[in-house]
Symmetry: C2
Subunit: 375 residues, 2 copies
């Protein structure tokens, strides 16, 4: 089939590449592929992080996608010349005070129900594993199954692998062309050119609502949630594992890269601008320095803000739209990188007229609307 993908974030790029393996002919439309929210991401592959909010469908999808990650990374490595920097040292959850410890313990009980083994570690073990962590944290939980990936290398790898497998990249935004209740293709916003397609997948992230041709009932489901992030660099990285910390109720994470970079994030603000603010940078530094005093010595190489695509239940919308041939894969909020393999697999299954994995089936766009999709 001829498939058009609208959106060149991690989701759009991954499914474009994935669909070439099914012998589809793929066109991808984005004015700056790889420069949206995916570029600001930390690359944590940590479904446990989401579990703090007790959203079980999202947690199940995250766990399923995490399991696919090693094979996904290996296949991507074969199709590109880029090593995505997969790290397997796991995550340590840290709580600063008694209330933070209670929150972590609640998350731990939820995780145990989903076969995610968290192990409580004491101060001595924590000091041995990550000596840079401040003494005096109230709770430390080790999640050995969590992974992380270098988000920018991942974007490079996907672009490269897609190009090698025949994806055609069109450097412009595009809208959907529909007639008689069926997708006909897409139209480039800059060129005005139409491109015929049997299937269109909209993977436009927080810009979903702005895509012409999307059914009205799906407009407004995805909203921009601003996130600010810092990148720092030290000659010797302070930590080996991802840290997810709660400081008197305020969250912060620190993700170490194999190349010495540290990513500190992320704020969540109900805003659509991309301004880096004094408050955002101050809070990320305050919270991360509280857990890692040695971080003060790091060079602050980048501050960045992007809009992530949020949904009412914080889980993505992946599936059919009610318009024949029109699919959506958007709203991945803070879990885009984690949910990439599962999302690409689900879209591939739908194009084969198969059911998507059960963890994705429940994330159908129709859950926000009583009208079932037309068949």
């Amino acid at each position: 089939m001829r498939v058009a993908v609208i959106g060149g974030g991690v989701i759009g790029l991954a499914l474009a590449w994935r669909l070439t393996a099914d012998q589809h002919s793929v066109d991808l439309f984005d004015d700056r592929p790889g420069h949206g929210a995916s570029r600001a991401a930390a690359g944590m592959l940590a479904p446990s992080g989401e579990a703090w909010f007790g959203e079980e469908p999202l947690l199940r999808a995250g766990v399923a996608s995490l399991r696919q990650w090693p094979e996904f990374a290996a296949r991507l490595g074969k199709d590109s010349d880029v090593d995505v920097g997969l790290r397997t040292e796991g995550t340590i959850l840290l709580g600063a005070d008694d209330a933070d410890a209670q929150t972590l313990d609640q998350a731990d009980r939820l995780l145990a129900q989903h076969d995610l083994a968290a192990r409580r570690i004491d101060r001595r073990e924590l000091g041995r594993m990550e000596p840079a962590v401040a003494s005096g944290v109230r709770r430390a939980l080790l999640l050995e199954s969590d992974l992380s990936v270098h988000n920018r290398l991942l974007l490079d790898a996907l672009l490269d692998a897609g190009a090698r497998r025949g994806v055609t990249y069109h450097r412009e935004r595009a809208d959907v062309e529909v007639s008689d209740g069926r997708v006909r293709g897409v139209r480039g916003r800059t060129s005005g050119e139409s491109h015929a397609a049997d299937v269109v997948v909209i993977a436009a992230g927080h810009e979903l609502s702005g895509v012409a041709g999307l059914p009205d009932r799906l407009r407004g489901v995805v909203r921009p949630v601003k996130g600010q992030i810092l990148r720092l660099r030290m000659p010797d990285p302070l930590v080996r594992r991802t840290l997810r910390c709660l400081l008197h109720g305020d969250p912060v994470y620190v993700v170490p890269r194999l190349d010495g970079e540290l990513v500190v994030g992320a704020t969540s603000e109900e805003l659509s601008d991309h301004a880096v603010t004094a408050d955002g940078v101050y809070e990320l530094l305050r919270r991360s320095i509280a857990f890692l005093p040695g971080l003060r010595e790091a060079e602050l190489t980048e501050t960045l803000a992007r809009s992530r695509p949020g949904t009412p239940d914080n889980a993505p919308i992946v599936g059919e739209t009610g318009v024949d041939g029109l699919l959506v894969a958007a709203g991945h909020y803070r879990g885009g990188v984690l949910l990439t393999p599962l999302t690409a697999e689900a879209i591939s299954a739908l194009l084969r007229d198969e059911s998507p994995p059960a963890e994705v089936a429940v994330l159908t766009p129709s859950r926000f609307n009583p009208t079932p999709p037309a068949e």
Copy 2:
């Protein structure tokens, strides 16, 4: 006379422009004029700030230069098309706790001896003057005579005025050519070309020691002192006056621009690199937010580090070097913008074989060496 100026910071640019008024022919050498420490400066014209350290020669020079600033800015405005954004609302010194208040009161007593009238203002008056300042500061002193200037517009204006008055800008670094104890000119480091000159003035800031031809006994007098600075922006500026704050002994200043920008500075580190660090940014935000909580909402538009030229007594070295025809104007540390008019005037006087102003005469390079300059 034919004068060569080495260094295109605020000092070098100002004296190049100033010397054209004395009918000298001026060549200025810098690979990137206006992009060194002057570009990172906050533009405070506030000798009181230095008074905290009790360095009286520097204080006297600052007071004398401050008095020249309005006329200097007016003349510069006539010779260029750039308004340098001189602000006349004054400075407020703020102390957070009792010890900070004591430090400010000491500074106040010193200032009173130098005809700098500081006036203690109470919380009600402070609230009326600057409602954005946090309640609960222990001491507020108003210095009505302080000024401030937009450092980057100042650099633009000096470049423009110099060009109009016939300064020739050479976009390369240069060394001094000396023979038989007399300056002969300069040699460009990139082109290797020699340019004859009757007088050479080295205004190379923290790079003074690296200029070939400088007498050995002046090498090492100037050292790099790293300063980090933040630029922020708000739709409506939070304050009208410059704030110089002490937070439990830690200093920070906030300089508001007429165009809505706020400059927050500055760290002082005995380092020569230009890396922005987590510690630098965190401390500047922590201290400034403590006095101005509303600053959290500001966009953080720039973080920058530069090396300022420090000297053993924190005062610049301005005057003759012992080599016939070779002058130095460097080592202005944190006072370069403030001391610009006085420094340019002093070099102009020396070229007329007149004595420089008394406040500059004591800043002669020979003060760091028992050997008097050869006459």
